[in-house]
Amino acid sequence: MTTKVIPLLDAAILRQAALDAVVKLWPAKLVRNPVMFVTAIVALLVTMLLLRDLATGRGGLLFAGQLAAWLWFTVLFANFAEAIAEGRGKAHADALRATRSETRAKLLSSSDDDKWESKAADLLVVGDIVLVEAGDIVPADGEVIEGIASVNESAVTGESAPVIRESGGDRSAVTGGTTVISDWIKVRVTAEPGSSFLDRMIALVEGAQRQKTPNELALSILLSGMTLIFLIAVVTLWGLAGYSGTVLSVTVLAALLVTLIPTTIGGLLSAIGIAGMDRLIRFNVIATSGRAVEAAGDVDTLLLDKTGTITYGNRLAAAFIPVPGKTDRDVAEAALLSSLADETPEGRSIVALAMGQFGQAEPNAGHLGATFIPFSAQTRISGIDLGGRSIRKGAVDAILKSTGTTIESTFAAFRDAVESISRSGGTPLAVADGQTLIGVIHLKDVVKPGIKERFAALRAMGIKTVMVTGDNPVTAAAIASEAGVDDYIAEATPQDKLAYIKAEQAKGRLIAMCGDGTNDAPALAQADVGVAMQTGTQAAREAGNMVDLDSNPTKLIEVTEIGKQLLMTRGSLTTFSIANDVAKYFAIIPALFLATYPELGALNVMRLETPESAILSAVIFNALVIIALIPLALKGISYRPIGAAALLRRNLLVYGLGGLVAPFVGIKIIDIVVTTLRLA
């Protein structure tokens, strides 16, 4: 899915959205959005009055007609915004749906049977066992019960490199819609047709099952409350104006009401929510609900596995330390030679370090008539016999034993080096040539570059990072301080993880974690935001409330940012919407009472031409601002980890102050256009 990037405003989507905007005028759909529902009712009322005036041949039709049109436009623009957001989701969904069509499954009667019958994929039930061979599409979500195969999952992940799926272990889950490209597997179906992973994904990106998230609900209540308050203010104004000798027409009161109620945020609210989900999907993360996305923005503590997330997961050579009388080049040479045949990641890292940092040329061992001594778990030593030299490297005690010495009788410098490496959480390897010790190789868990900065950014966001590792506390502490995490759980078992999450939650914190193994499932389920890796087991994927299709655990950080962005966009546009009202009052109130109190013209600070043009301009501005803000609603306002207070100051300045000033300018410009065109 990442392969196809949909531009922010795609022509085809816009066309479809324009149509959908009209369809969404259907009352049953409109009523979901109280602000827009009120706007539509008001527009209808004004239209009916217009028709009555048309029938009775009253004057002022041009003004009332334009007003009615712009009120309808306000509703249509809001529908349009929602339709665009949905359209972008649908485009993703269509791409997904294409992979699912017309799949046939090879149904086996039992797991040890090899005969199969063809059955349509959407007729499979949970528990069915199917055979998937090279070239076949996996017909449903399931678990591999036999065999091993490489699977192309690009249909769901967009990643074309095939992955291995095999029975047992943590790589046993397969997803419907993916393609087996070599070998065969037997799969037990684990999802009902229509509720498979792909189906849920389609439903989510389409926004079909969209329910209001908790914050969205709270905001809707606030907006409905504001609408009610303005309804009271506007309706009572009729009475107060009557006292003052002004009979206000329903049409102008309707205009005032619609400009005052928070139509801007009301119109864009659902578009913001859909766009937030869509952003997440473009990051290749599927959330099972909008609630989870919102919760991600609230996360206080992030639980991260050390291996693969914080470190590369393998111990890599970091330094060569010689014994007295030798140079580090001697150690490098010996280490290189002894590791030539060592195909473990550690061995390769030693070769890389020796050749890279120390510029050792790659010796052509074959030509030297060398004998390789491969690594074995018994000896814990590997090495090379080369023209009379027998160079060995391996665990310190094993090497010492082979050289016939004890740790006490070695050089003090050697002892110190071994000790300090162990203390820092690294692994020391000794290098010897025959009976002579040459030096020590420092193997350590290498922290991924840039990860420290990411943790610093998280800290600035107010999120605590916790590293989970099976290492002993000494090693864990060393890596924790190097990576810059706030806390760590050493020698962690799945139970430890679960207990830690529960303890943090009891303190009122929201926890996010990611995991892939079956033993992660309880913790994933317990965490407020559980991101399962796509490569993980079915159990893990079921337990989490998000699935990362790229299986990249650091993505939790982006997920959190998207959650925050979602709330910020809503909050900022709400502020903008409310701040706008000040200017609208200054435009409309003097216009309403110009006949009774010409002196109130003092409030007409924008110097709008006529009362009609003032009211019309305010209504037009109110409608156009929805259109103008659609790109912002879809993109979301940018999040920067600069701390809550700084963030608020920035957003207040832009959307609060901006919201106060912008309509004064906008309404004035529209007024000039309206009067120039003699529309009012």
């Binding site: 900022s572 709400t574 207070a645 100051r649 207040l652």
Partner: protein
């Protein structure tokens, strides 16, 4: 405006802050059930009350039973006062021999005193017997204030506690508010008032012979003791019709300063109580700064508007240096009159030492707007604090969204339920104020009560309903409110403004108390920062402004523009 004037204002406000701080911390001890210096004296009395009424003080109540207890208690208070008023003619301690009060006035008055409004559609010295003044009105002065304090303490506990089901015991909070706070302070203040020349007697009136030889009846009574609780409890109901402008109710500059000090004292102190009880003093101070910034700014506007005077009067040859002195007492001066005007309206006190009707249009807009902002600056005793908390929740909600987190206030997440209840409370005032004003403005019968035509008349109506719904009780005057229509609708406004407001607020407190207290993190928006105070002020002003701007534009604002154009009404 003069430096000396501002100095007077600064001295009074400084004295309030200086005394409110220890009082606030003292109240925090009182309501947490801790020992206080006066405990040895008061504790036995308190225990006796519980024993006599069968209350188990250690048994706490849920928000619902707390609220029901409060409503029952106030309903009873209303009933007793209503009966007292109706039957006053047949009851003792009635030296002037006043007859029973008419049903609509009795309803209005009883409601007025139970809701801490103290709107007076009557002249005190010519309507109420000493028994009603002391056993009816003064008792409600204590009880309505104590109710307010108890409610504020319950709401405070909601934020102080984590995953709690109870908010305290209403009867205990009431008793303690009365015995530990209101009574001792009232006694001290009454003595101070008597010492500075206020009458305190059970005699009805004295006959005096004027220099012209005419007979004059000068009303007297237990003024000082009434005054003390009237100010301390932000009640505002005067003993005399002229309220604090009367030479017996407010004899000199000293009593005037003491009056302002005493009406601001408890509401201000409660912000410190709030800070102490939620475990973070800065939180209370933040609310206090927001309150006082607006209070001082408003005082500045009134002071400026009044000293700028009225151009029309200057043209008519009136000496302009003193500004607009119509309706003001020379013994108080411009500065302390301005402070009194703003304090009494920002406080829901409603005592007046100046005729608000005689203020310049802009000077009159300010007190009206202060009431419409919800009586939270710092507001009535107790009601000001919980009103402010509702606005703070609204502010936090918008601010919280803008920093990308589920909004939280004092570690409590603000979600849909809290929002719903806060909005429900916020709807009450505009509905009562604008609704009844608009109806009255269109009713010929209601318009007969007006003394002035044009926008000033509209201001009079608007002010009356603002005052009633805001539980303020001050009058703009110029409106004859003692008619069945106004007595009934204003009484209803008071009822709505007090109880329809506080029930959702208590439900909100219940919801908040049940929530887990979330520890603050770097992503939490700090609610004790200058930024929050600024935002809170912005929300108060914009929210209030947006609701009442059209109404105010047709009242004081247009009157101001017209005055400059030379038109009067």
């Amino acid at each position: 405006m003069t430096i000396f004037g501002w100095l007077q204002i600064a001295v009074v406000l400084g004295a309030v802050l200086l005394c409110a701080w220890p009082l606030g911390l003292y109240m925090a001890r009182v309501f947490s059930g801790e020992k206080t210096p006066i405990s040895p004296l008061v504790r036995p009395i308190e225990r006796a009350f519980y024993a006599a009424s069968g209350i188990r003080p250690e048994k706490e109540q849920s928000w619902l039973s707390y609220t029901l207890a409060m409503l029952t208690f106030n309903a009873l208070g209303f009933l007793i006062l209503y009966v007292l008023l109706r039957l006053q003619g047949n009851l003792p301690l009635n030296p002037q021999g006043f007859s029973g009060v008419a049903p609509d006035l009795a309803f209005n008055t009883a409601m007025s005193f139970v809701t801490n409004t103290n709107w007076q559609a009557y002249g005190g010295e010519t309507t109420m017997s000493h028994l009603v003044q002391m056993a009816g009105l003064a008792v409600q002065n204590f009880l309505s204030a104590a109710t307010g304090i108890a409610l504020a303490i319950a709401v405070t506990r909601a934020f102080a506690r984590s995953s709690a089901q109870t908010l305290g015991n209403f009867w205990v909070d009431m008793t303690r508010a009365t015995l530990y706070v209101l009574l001792p302070l009232s006694v001290l203040l009454a003595i101070a008032f008597v010492l500075s020349g206020m009458p305190q007697t059970l005699a009805g009136s004295v006959e005096a012979t004027t220099l012209e030889g005419a007979k004059q009846t000068i009303a007297l009574g237990p003024v000082a003791s009434q005054e003390a609780i009237k100010q301390l409890g932000t009640n505002g109901g005067g003993f005399f019709n002229a309220n604090a402008a009367h030479p017996f109710e407010n004899p000199n500059a000293w009593t005037n300063m003491l009056s302002i000090w005493s009406m601001l004292l408890i509401s201000t102190a409660l912000t410190f109580t709030f800070g102490r009880m939620v475990g973070d003093g800065h939180q209370g101070v933040a609310l206090l700064i927001a309150m006082y910034t607006l209070l001082i700014a408003a005082t500045g506007v009134v002071y400026w508007a009044e000293t700028s005077g009225n151009r029309l009067l200057t043209q008519a040859g009136v000496e302009a240096t003193a500004g607009n002195m119509e309706g003001k007492e020379v013994r108080f001066g411009q500065a302390l009159s301005a402070l009194y005007v703003v304090a009494t309206t920002a406080l829901s006190c409603g005592a007046v030492n100046t005729m608000h009707d005689s203020l310049t249009p802009l000077g009159g807009l300010v007190p009206m707007f202060m009431i419409q902002l919800g009586e939270i600056l710092p507001g009535g005793v107790g009601s000001g604090l919980y009103g402010m908390i509702v606005v703070a929740i609204l502010t936090v909600f918008i601010a919280g969204l803008m920093v990308g987190r589920t909004p939280e206030y004092l570690g409590k997440k603000i979600e849909a339920r809290e929002m719903k209840l806060a909005i429900l409370a916020l709807l009450v005032l505009p509905m009562a104020i604008l609704g009844f004003s608009a109806i009255s403005a269109m009713m010929p019968k209601a318009l007969e009560s007006l003394a002035n035509a044009g926008p000033h008349g509209l201001s009079e109506i608007l002010y009356a309903f603002s005052s009633a719904a805001g539980n303020n009780g001050s009058a703009f005057a110029g409106l004859n409110a003692n008619t069945p229509w106004y007595n009934t609708t204003l009484g209803l406004s008071m009822l709505l403004g007090r109880f329809a407001y506080v029930v959702p607020v208590m439900a909100l407190a219940g919801a908040v108390a049940a929530k887990k207290k979330v520890p603050a993190s770097g992503g939490t928006f700090p609610t004790d920062s200058g930024l929050f105070v600024g935002l809170l002020i912005g929300v108060i002003l914009i929210l209030g402004g947006l609701q009442y701007f059209p109404a105010l534009a047709l009242g004081p604002i247009v009157e101001h523009v017209l005055m400059h154009a030379g038109k009067t009404f």
